[in-house]
């Protein structure tokens, strides 16, 4: 049967009935839902009208009428209902109308679906769905979005003030902004988000201005943290997720960035005060708040650095003051206390860095720079390098730290080595350490071999093998010396009696390069000792032929029996002291000058020796006149009346101040090191500008010391004179390497 042609008006009438039914359903009026037949009929009507032969194919008209249906409904019903409502009520109505609209679009586009299949594609027209949404957008959205946005923002601000609002409603409203963009976020962003952000900014700006004046820093930070949390909450509940970053940044900016200085610098509660009062929690909060802001942590780290520097400098000053108040012989107790306190300070603030400040590099750097400032100050004439070396000596020597457990000692050594990293004159430390190590090793004053090796391992790890190679050599020398002594004793046993020195002799052979340099004097040895030296020389030559032995008597120890009237006492003295005492085997009474002539020592040394034997605790020699100091006109006699309750006493010789020599030696080494660095750099670069040469030189040497710029210039001049370098003829600031 041929299909009957449907007339446009006729067909549209039929469709109109369907549309009206739909509207009634949407309006909530009593209306049964569409049955399958009704739906099919409506669909088929459209289908037929579109597939009729021209002039009866009404696709274009139907397409237009489709749109008009929406327009009519919106204009007659939807818009008025919105316009007569305000604020929250308007929002609710909008949500309702939008939901309805979507349903309407869904249904109508189903009815008119056939248009989607061919007509639209053929003419490249917007799809039915899009047409429907566009109608809403153009007629409703564009009309009301400003009001809507304002209503939403008002509610948000109410919520900020603590009122309860309908979050679900806002979510639905904002979903409209998103959906109306039809795939793009531009409606949401331009019509809502931008204004919301601006309002947020103004809101928090006002709050911040009040709070910054009234609140303490911790309170302000608490509030800020709360606000940020609430805003994030807001996003998760009704704002679109893409707003989170922008919103947080806006709030951060108003609360934390704009008032950063005022906040951190608050006198009684700002960053400085928090550090002073150890307010760990507040500082952690400060870190959390500022770490997300670019460069936000810079001022905090700066204050941290200043604080530590101030504390450290105060400790140094304390030690300086205490030292100047004490007698000069107080053996630097204050300085040792200082090192301990600095270690404690370091531990304390390192904990801050790892805990409060989450191990952030900025704070590691601040700590390092702070320590570098005060760890390089001098106290009572001693450089920090020397103090640290003395501190180590105190731990490692006998009677130094026997009360501490092995673990405690290890820990302390570990911390000391860490402190070394902050000291710029590392080479000075090495030299002092070496000198004291030599003392410990040679006079058997080392408490524990394992600790000695342990600290060398730690130093090696931190400063490199070259730093510790000499020290390790020294320790090895001692081990070898023990073996050597065993073979020496074998040698003595197996040789004739004539070869025997007649005294028990122990010799320690040191490898010159490893040990500090010692002056060796041409001491006139007592005959007994001369024999010892010769016997050992004989033995040594059987082992190696190509080495020269230089005897350092200043490091030797002698056990002498003093046959006093009351009883014989064994005296433990240095070789020099023994040499003096043995003179009295041949003469009863000697003058200063006679002793001087016989021994061939310097005045300084002789005065020290005679003082230790006649004016100190144990008066082995009696002096005429019996004054407290040695003068060149004094006379000395063996004090046969001397006695002590002990059978064996040690007569100490106060050590010479090695500081001056150490500093001299280190300065000399530095000159060579600078020379070598300059030559090395110029050899590889051939031509280099002055500033660059200086800065590369400083960098190369920084592992061991901080070279003085003037010293570098001086060395350069020397190298110019020695024809290693020349100044460029045309550019006075350039230098050339002369091969």
């Amino acid at each position: 049967m041929e299909r009957k042609t449907i007339d446009l008006d006729q067909g549209w009438d039929y469709m109109q009935k369907g549309i009206t039914k739909l509207k009634r359903i949407l309006e909530g009026l009593p209306e049964p839902p569409f049955s399958s037949e009704e739906y099919m009929m409506l669909y088929t009507t459209i289908y037929n009208m579109c597939t009729q032969k021209p002039p009866h194919d009404y696709s274009q008209q139907l397409y237009d009428k489709y749109r008009e249906a929406f327009e009519e409904y919106i204009t007659s019903t939807v818009l008025p209902s919105l316009r007569e409502r305000h604020d929250e009520f308007m929002l609710r109505e909008l949500v309702k109308r939008w939901a309805n609209h979507k349903i309407m679009v869904r249904w109508l586009s189903r009815f008119f679906h056939y248009l989607d299949r061919y007509f639209i594609a053929r003419r490249s027209l917007p799809a039915l769905n899009e047409v429907g949404l566009t109608c809403f957008r153009d007629l409703v959205y564009n009309d009301v979005h400003v009001k809507v946005r304002d209503a939403v923002i008002t509610l948000i601000d109410k919520e900020r003030e603590g009122e309860q609002i309908d979050r679900a409603l806002l979510k639905n409203v904002l979903d409209i902004f998103v959906e109306i963009g039809m795939g793009l976020m531009d409606r949401y962003e331009e019509d809502f988000e931008a204004h919301m952000l601006q309002d947020t900014g103004a809101y928090y700006s006002r709050k911040a201005s009040n709070w910054i004046l009234e609140d303490s820093c911790p309170d302000y930070m608490l509030k800020s943290e709360e606000c940020l949390k609430k805003e994030r909450d807001r996003v998760s509940h009704y704002l679109h997720s893409s707003s989170e970053t922008k919103l947080s940044e806006k709030v951060q900016h108003e609360l934390l960035v704009m008032h950063a200085n005022q906040l951190l610098d608050k006198e009684h509660s700002g960053c400085r005060a928090l550090l002073r009062d150890d307010k760990v929690e507040d500082l952690s909060r400060m870190y959390r708040l500022y770490c997300k802001i670019p460069r936000g942590l810079d001022p905090v780290a700066n204050i941290f650095k200043q604080h530590i520097t101030a504390e450290g400098t105060a400790l140094v000053q304390q030690a300086e003051d205490a030292a100047s108040n004490q007698a000069s012989n107080a053996a630097g107790v204050q300085e040792q206390v200082l090192i301990r306190k600095i270690i404690e300070l370091h531990d304390k603030y390192m904990t801050y860095v790892t805990d409060c400040f989450q191990n952030h590099t900025l704070f590691h750097k601040a700590l390092k720079e702070a320590f570098e400032v005060f760890c390089n100050k001098t106290v009572a004439g001693s450089s920090s390098a020397e103090l640290l070396a003395t501190f180590c000596d105190n731990i490692l020597k006998k009677g130094g730290s026997e009360k501490l457990s092995d673990e405690a000692i290890e820990e302390t050594l570990e911390k000391v080595v860490k402190l070394l990293a902050y000291i710029s004159d590392k080479d000075l430390f090495a030299e002092f350490y070496r000198k004291k190590l030599a003392r410990r090793l040679l006079f058997d004053r080392s408490a524990n071999d394992d600790h000695e090796r342990s600290i060398l391992t730690k130093l090696k790890q931190q400063c490199g093998g070259q730093f510790t190679s000499k020290m390790e050599g020294m320790v090895t020398d001692l081990t070898l010396a023990r073996e050597n002594q065993a073979s020496f004793e074998d040698y003595l046993r197996s040789n004739s009696a004539a070869a025997h020195p007649g005294i028990d002799l122990t010799v320690t052979v040191l490898t010159t390069g490893f040990w500090p340099s010692y002056k060796s004097f041409d001491l006139n040895l007592p005959a007994e000792m001369v024999k010892c030296v010769e016997v050992f020389k004989g033995f040594y030559e059987t082992k190696t032929k190509h080495r020269k032995l230089t005897w350092i008597y200043s490091l030797g120890t002698c056990h002498i029996n003093g046959k006093f009237e009351q009883k014989t006492i064994e005296l433990i003295v240095s070789t020099y002291q023994a040499a003096v005492l043995l003179l009295f085997n041949a003469s009863d009474r000697l003058s200063y000058s006679e002793i001087m002539a016989q021994l061939n020592l310097t005045h300084d040394d002789l005065v020290r020796l005679l003082h230790s034997l006649s004016c100190a605790k144990y008066k082995i020699l009696s002096k005429e006149p019996n004054t407290k100091t040695i003068s060149q006109s004094d006379y000395f006699e063996f004090n046969s009346k001397f006695t002590d309750k002990l059978r064996r006493i040690k007569i100490p010789l106060p050590p010479v101040d090695e500081r001056k020599k150490v500093v001299e030696d280190v300065d000399k080494d530095r000159r060579y090191a600078i020379d070598a660095a300059i030559v090395r750099i110029m050899k590889s670069r051939k031509v280099l500008g002055h500033q660059q040469l200086v800065s590369e030189c400083v960098e190369q040497l920084s592992r061991m010391f901080k070279p003085d710029i003037k010293a570098i210039k001086k060395r350069m001049e020397d190298l110019i004179t020695r024809d290693y370098l020349e100044r460029d003829k045309d550019n006075a600031n350039m230098f050339r390497y002369l091969a």
């Binding site: 210039k713 004179t721 100044r727 230098f735």
Partner: protein, 230 residues
């Protein structure tokens, strides 16, 4: 008959042509005459046993020229002569130098002195003269530096006229400082550069981080301390 090219007359045989080292022809008659006078001058001042002009001879020369022995112009003359040894002029040096100056008598030499001054003052020559002044003081073999006393005199002599205030202060400083007992060529050269480049007396554009010798850094520090009103 074809015309014949006229024969060129040969040069008259009685004057010999001698070509000197720069390629120009000089009539030998004039040359020997010129050297004769120069040599005669040389002999009048030279120490016959040494075969060269010694300090006494130079003293005599100065007196004849009407200048003081310590006058900078004598130094300039030495420079012109490329004299190797301070206080002595060899015959070769004398001959070459005076020839270049185009003088062969005392009066001519005297007149040539202002010219010589101008020549030395030319930027292309001044650096050479300035370095020469230093090297002239190196009397011992292998000597690389000059003692402070001599340097002060030399500074006065060479730079005094042009840079009086700098030289006076620099000399004062050199005498009181104790870091350096001698000055080397590099330092000497930089003294000139200092005078030429650095504003005086405010020293505003002096930058110690540049490659100025340390002695000048110290000089500037001393100046700033001394004249802290600047």
């Amino acid at each position: 008959m074809p015309p014949r090219a006229p024969k060129r007359k040969s040069a008259p045989p009685n004057s010999l042509s001698v070509t000197s080292s720069d390629g120009s022809s000089v009539s030998s008659k004039a040359k020997t005459k010129g050297f004769v006078r120069i040599d005669r001058m040389f002999d009048s001042y030279a120490n016959s046993s040494l075969g060269m002009i010694d300090p006494d001879g130079i003293e005599a020369l100065c007196s004849d020229l009407g200048v003081d022995c310590t006058d900078v112009r004598i130094l300039m003359l030495a420079w012109k002569l490329k004299a190797q040894r301070q206080g002595y002029f060899t015959q070769d040096e004398w001959r070459t130098g005076l020839k270049e100056l185009r003088v062969d008598s005392i009066s001519k030499l005297k007149k040539a002195l202002p010219e010589l001054e101008k020549e030395v003052g030319k930027p292309s020559n001044y650096d050479s003269f300035y370095s020469y002044a230093f090297r002239y003081c190196l009397t011992e073999e292998m000597q690389k530096s000059v003692d402070i006393e001599s340097i002060c005199e030399l500074l006065n002599l060479v730079l005094g006229a042009q840079f009086r205030p700098q030289v006076d202060l620099l000399i004062e400083y050199l005498k009181v400082q104790s870091d350096y007992k001698v000055i080397n060529l590099d330092q000497w050269i930089n003294f000139l550069r200092f005078c030429q480049e650095i504003n005086f007396p405010d020293l505003e554009n002096y930058d110690a981080t540049q490659a100025w010798p340390l002695i000048l850094d110290n000089f500037v520090d001393w100046m700033r301390e001394k004249h802290s009103s600047f």
